[in-house]
Structure formats: structure tokens, C-alpha cells
Symmetry: C2
Subunit: 226 residues, 2 copies
Amino acid sequence: MATTPAKPLRADAERNRLHILEAAAAAFADGGLDVPVAEIARRAGVGPGTLFRRFPTKDDLVIAILEQRFQAFCEVLDAALAQPDPWRGFVECMETVVAMQVRDRGMLESVGERFFGDPRVRELKQQVDPKLEALLERVQSAGVVRDDIEHQDIPVLIQAAARAGCVMPSCDPELSRRYLAIMLDGLRPAAATPLPVSAPDIDELERRAHRRATAERARKRAHGSA
Amino acid sequence: MATTPAKPLRADAERNRLHILEAAAAAFADGGLDVPVAEIARRAGVGPGTLFRRFPTKDDLVIAILEQRFQAFCEVLDAALAQPDPWRGFVECMETVVAMQVRDRGMLESVGERFFGDPRVRELKQQVDPKLEALLERVQSAGVVRDDIEHQDIPVLIQAAARAGCVMPSCDPELSRRYLAIMLDGLRPAAATPLPVSAPDIDELERRAHRRATAERARKRAHGSA
DNA sequence: CTTCAAGCGGATCACCTGCTCCGCTTGCTT
DNA sequence: AAGCAAGCGGAGCAGGTGATCCGCTTGAAG
């Protein structure tokens, strides 16, 4: 999909593209999305000009990295669905994904914060959603997860657990397992007190976020030209 | 403590100081810590110069606001401890504090992220810690919260729940109640599967964070002068 | 009322960051 | 080997932000 749809890149250019992607993935993972583009270019051994010809915007670069991450997410979900024991599959999936997020500050910041509502990210999510629904349906049918959980809750809980293990600069995957365990216990039918609020309408939230972002951008342009 | 220890401020200056604090509290609450200082000054109806004379650094301003917030937190804890039913006191306290955090993006970002490890914030936390321990001790003695929870877990869970309701730009206090409810269910003794990881040593994490921040600052100065 | 230091605020600096431009280089084609 | 377009990279631009400086204003003490 992202691989050379029209014109085959020159050999050295393609090599550079890969270097950039590699450097960006590493930089975002341990520095978050705030790492300067110049540093990514330096790490990749190219000039800023080269980077920006390939990825005209910093956002484009982030999205490219996110595509990789979502693909990994998909694979984890498939593995979970292949597990014979629904509960074990579910738990292992949650643990793996949480660990992935903790190790990747960029992912953490982008999906839930800065790129929430971005159309390209929404598309990536839609690719994951059905698998998520299947995973939840399976554990609920087996009676090992309470019925008032909905599939939109899962990513929220994943992010919450990941963040809990990320009390700032020392992100600790181990620690997040502790809080994930508490949340998982809260998902069992035994403990369930009825939930006080219904699950979020993610679509609506995303639309709102996107509208707001667009409006903000428009406001800034207007400010500039006025 | 922060109130005029040495020299009484001139009347108009004191008035301005209060305006600044008010404006900063509002701005941080709904814009996060990234709001430009200039905008706070504008909202307060003063010039940037005035603001920086009173609060020489943006950080100083943030800390001043945090002092207020922590005091409010203390009051909520006292109220919870006054509740005759331990569990109800605990739950109401958690719900209130989570709601406070959701409504105040600045608090959310500062305590767990940007100011984690800051000595002044640590001091504020120490003022809250004993109350937190008492609150937890009470529910555990009553047998309504599992025993393998430790007091350091509480702020982490609060932050996690608050963040869960903050899927970016539309922070929704209602939504965070849903996820807090799940976590609270996970705290009941009934559901408890043994926790896989021990509670964080917050002190150690804070020391590490502070050391890292100091090192980073030193690195930048060196870069500047070299 | 006079006086004067404390206070004010905006122009300005220093710096950082995303992004662009353009003269030079380099891989592919014939 | 030669020619040329695709590619390169660094100098530099635009804009935004924290912080400062300095000439003017104003509250309050005598």
C-alpha cells in the first residue's frame, strides 16, 4: 500500500528511505513525537532536505511508522484468536500490546492524543476493529468477561495500562503489567458492579477531534493572513 | 508558605499577582501546560514583563498552581476519611479526584509527566501521602480491598482512569467514571488474581527522573557554551 | 503635594523547529 | 563514455515561545 505505487525509486533513494524509516521508528520510540526532524535525519545519515522530499511533512513520517505498528498489532490479534483458550488468548494479547506501547512512546502519544481523529489513523484502526470485536466476543461467550464491556473499551484500557507503567521518563513494561492485571480482574464477571456510564462512541469522538483540529488549523491560517 | 514571606507587595502588584494566578489556573486547566506565557499574561490583563517579574520562570507559575490543586486534593482526602463507610469514602474520593484531573489537563500533564521528580512537587506529594495510606489501610482492614494493593498504586490508578476519559481533545469526566469503575472492581478481594509485579518504588523513580532532568539541563548548557 | 522607588508593559532578544531552495553530485540509460 | 534527470544536503527562512530590558507610570510614605 505504501510501497512504491507509481514510480520505482532510484536505488540510493530507496536505501535512504529505509534508513529514514528505521531512524524515525527508533527516535519516536524512545523520545516520543517531539524529537526534532533534524535529529532523525542525522540518525539516518541524510540531510533534512532529503527527508522532507520523501516525507513532505513530519506527520507523514509519523503515519508511515504507525502503519508498521498497526500491522504488528494485527499479527498479535491473529495470534490471540488462534489460541484455543479464549481467556489466555485475550490476556496474552493485552499483555503483548501493552508492552509494545510502553516501549514505544511515539505510538502512545500519537494514537490516543496527537493523531486521534486523523483520517489516516482512523483507516488503520478500522483494519483492527473487527479482530478486536471477535476477540471480545469470544471471551464474553465463554463467560469469562463481563457482558457490559464493549469493544471500544479495549483500546482505552490498553492505553490506560500502558500509561500507568509510564510514570514519566522511566517507562517500565513490567510495571504496566501490574496495572493491567488489576484492570483484567475488573473485567471478570465475578466482581462486576454495573458500569455507571456507557461506552464511548469513538467514531463521534474522532469526528469531533478532527473537526476541532481542522478548525484550529483554519484559525491559524486566518491569523497569519489577517 | 507562598504568601509574601518577606516584603508586602504593593496593592496593585498584589492584585495583578492574583489575576495572573487565576488566568494561569484557567489556561492550564483547559489548554494544558503548553499554553504560551504570553496568552496567560493577556488573559490576566498584564504584560509579559509583569508576569515574569512575579514568576521568574514558567515552571514557577506551574508550581504555584499545583500548590492550590494539592491543597484541594488534601481536602477531598480529609472528607473521605470522615466518611463512616470506608468503601464509600474511598470510592467517592477516587471519583472526585479523577474528575478533578480530567477537568484540569495541566494537572494531568504536570504531576505524572513533566514535573515528575521535581523536588517542589515531591514536597507537595509528601503532604498527601500519609492521608492516602490511611485511606487505603482503612478499606483493607475492612476487607473490601485486596491486600496486595499498596498506597503508591492509588495515584497511578487515579491518573490511569483520568487519562482513560481523556481520549484526546474531548476530555470527558463522565467517561473516566466508566474506567474507574472497572479498576475499582479490580481492587475488590473477590476477583483478585495475584498481582504479577510488585508496586513501584516511587521515590526511586522520582530520584531517577530528577537526576535525568538535571543531567539533560547540564548537557544543554554545555552544548550552548561549547 | 512632592517624591521616588516599586511596578508596569511592550519591543526585543535568543533559540528552537518545521520546512524550503538551490547549486552540486550521482545513478541510470543509451 | 556521455548526458541528464533524479537525488542530495546544508544554508537559510518563517514563525512561535520563553525570557529580558528599559523608559514611562503610579501607589504610597513623609
